[in-house]
């Protein structure tokens, strides 16, 4: 019995140490890492970019985390990560960070596909989220409470939403909060009486985007300036980026990188 225990303990100790040798092709020491964190709106697109980038640069590892725009900005300020992702403009006390615009994205307001409403005005949206309008009957549907969903305070999408739509009015206390684009989309996709706002690039068949003041949110209307709820996707850095980071950012801003973004439904940085 003691012998068995000894072997088990030994195994437990040796296994973790052996992963120093198990890195692919032993390139561990030469591996170049870029750490990115922040906006949940930007994250899936950064992941896509990272996937493409690592195909051509196998000695690179790009680590992508979520957390929200403010979390990414904070992580950047703390030097926890190389690059922070933000989906809103930087605030005054954050301006000491370098910012690089990688693309533009619209915020679309989505309802459940079962919801017959297809058009709303900006004022409607403002009133719903400030709590003035609480029932769908006030917007032309049935007598049923509106299940509105907003993002958490640190969200860049929420920040841009508050700046471009709420214009100073506070979001009501009783409105539900979810902490990522994906989870807002999920709530709207499963609750017929829900309404929320998500990144335009994430809209698909699961949810329905409504027109705002007559304008349908799409890449064309964004480019033409007709759909006005637009925000930049930023990469922020604290001081100079190291070489690995620079290479990744160069890829993102290159034609190849921009094409990846445009294919996903975003507007290029130069458009």
């Amino acid at each position: 019995m003691p012998k068995l225990m000894m072997t088990v303990l030994l195994l437990l100790m040796v296994l973790p140490l052996s992963f120093g040798a198990c890195s692919p092709k032993g390139l561990q020491n030469k591996k170049r890492t870029v750490t990115v964190a922040g906006s949940t709106s930007v994250m899936p697109f950064t992941e896509k970019l990272a996937e493409h980038f690592m195909v051509d640069h196998p000695d690179f590892t790009v680590d992508v985390q979520g957390g929200g725009s403010t979390a990414g900005i904070q992580a950047c300020l703390n030097n926890t990560v190389n690059i922070g992702m933000s989906s809103r403009q930087l605030k005054d006390d954050e301006k000491r960070l370098n910012q690089i615009i990688i693309c533009y994205d619209g915020i679309s307001f989505v309802v459940n596909p079962k919801n017959p409403i297809t058009a709303l005005s900006l004022k409607d949206i403002r009133d719903v989220f400030s709590g003035k309008i609480k029932n769908w009957s006030e917007l032309g549907w049935i007598d049923r409470r509106i299940d509105a969903v907003t993002r958490e305070e640190g969200s860049g999408t929420r920040g841009s939403f508050e700046e471009l739509v709420m214009k100073g009015e506070e979001i009501d206390d009783g409105i539900m909060v979810q902490d990522s684009n994906g989870s807002v989309k999920e709530v709207v996709a499963t609750d017929p009486y829900a309404i929320g706002y998500i990144s335009l690039g994430l809209v698909d068949a699961k949810v329905k985007a409504v027109t705002i003041d007559g304008v349908r949110p799409s890449i064309e209307t964004l480019k033409l300036g007709e759909y006005k709820i637009v925000r930049p996707f930023l990469y922020v850095t604290h001081g100079e980026l190291d070489d690995s980071g620079k290479e990744f950012v160069n890829f993102v801003l290159s034609e190849a990188g921009q094409n990846v973004l445009k294919k996903e439904g975003l507007i290029g940085a130069y458009d």
Partner: protein, 287 residues
Amino acid sequence: MIKKAFTKEHFVKWVLIAFALSSLLFLFLIFIFILAEGLPLFHKIGLKNIIFGFKWAPTKGSFGIFPMIVSSFLVTFGALVIGAPLGLSCAIYLSEYSGKKLKLFLKPALELLAGIPSVVYGFLGVIYIVPLVRNYFGGPGFSILATSVILGVMILPTVISISFDSLMSVPKTYREGSFAMGATKWQTIYKVIIPAARSGILASFILGMGRAIGETMAVIMVAGNALKIPTSVLDPLRTLTSNIALELAYATGDHRLGLFSTGVVLLVIIMALNYIANFAIKRRVLK
């Protein structure tokens, strides 16, 4: 040879002391850190303003966590309403009505139930319970009701196993004496066994409460996370734990300290519950 063994013994003793000290360091590191970061804000803003404040808007200087304290307690009591009677009944069934074979089968089953990660409970809650509440009761589905149901199921293993242990430790003679006086099984259970085991049963409820109030991931998924105090069981809510999880990643300065203060409140509540539970058990041992 004897001298060698002596110094080896000494060496071993000091290594073990080092281990014990390191453990102590680790254990108290988290305590001290949370207290160190969490207490200053109470001083700065005032205990009353934080615990009884109604508005949580830390970026604007409001640190009121009262709605969240209320919400945490509401779902915890809700979890008890669902989990305690059910759990106690199962424990009674297990100890008084089931044979050895069933006992052997049910214990591992309980442990499997306890081992299922909370995110899985939350996920199943979102897929099945939330729509159920929305379609049959109203509201968005993300509600006290949905959260209580999920938490109630999650505390079942705790309530059942501790109550079971407590019931089983009631001496056989109690039962035999009761039967000898012509009581039926239920009368025996109701008037003799449960009173005898009551402190252990109570302890199981309190520990279940501790588990429910500390749950985070499952709650974030089904509670809706609205800041207002809920006015009906169908309203969405935000608990103390969810608040920390939602805001942790981006909170800075006083906002971050506010989260630690929330942590201190949670610590106090849970340590109080643990203390009460252990106290209840101690009373039984002394009896």
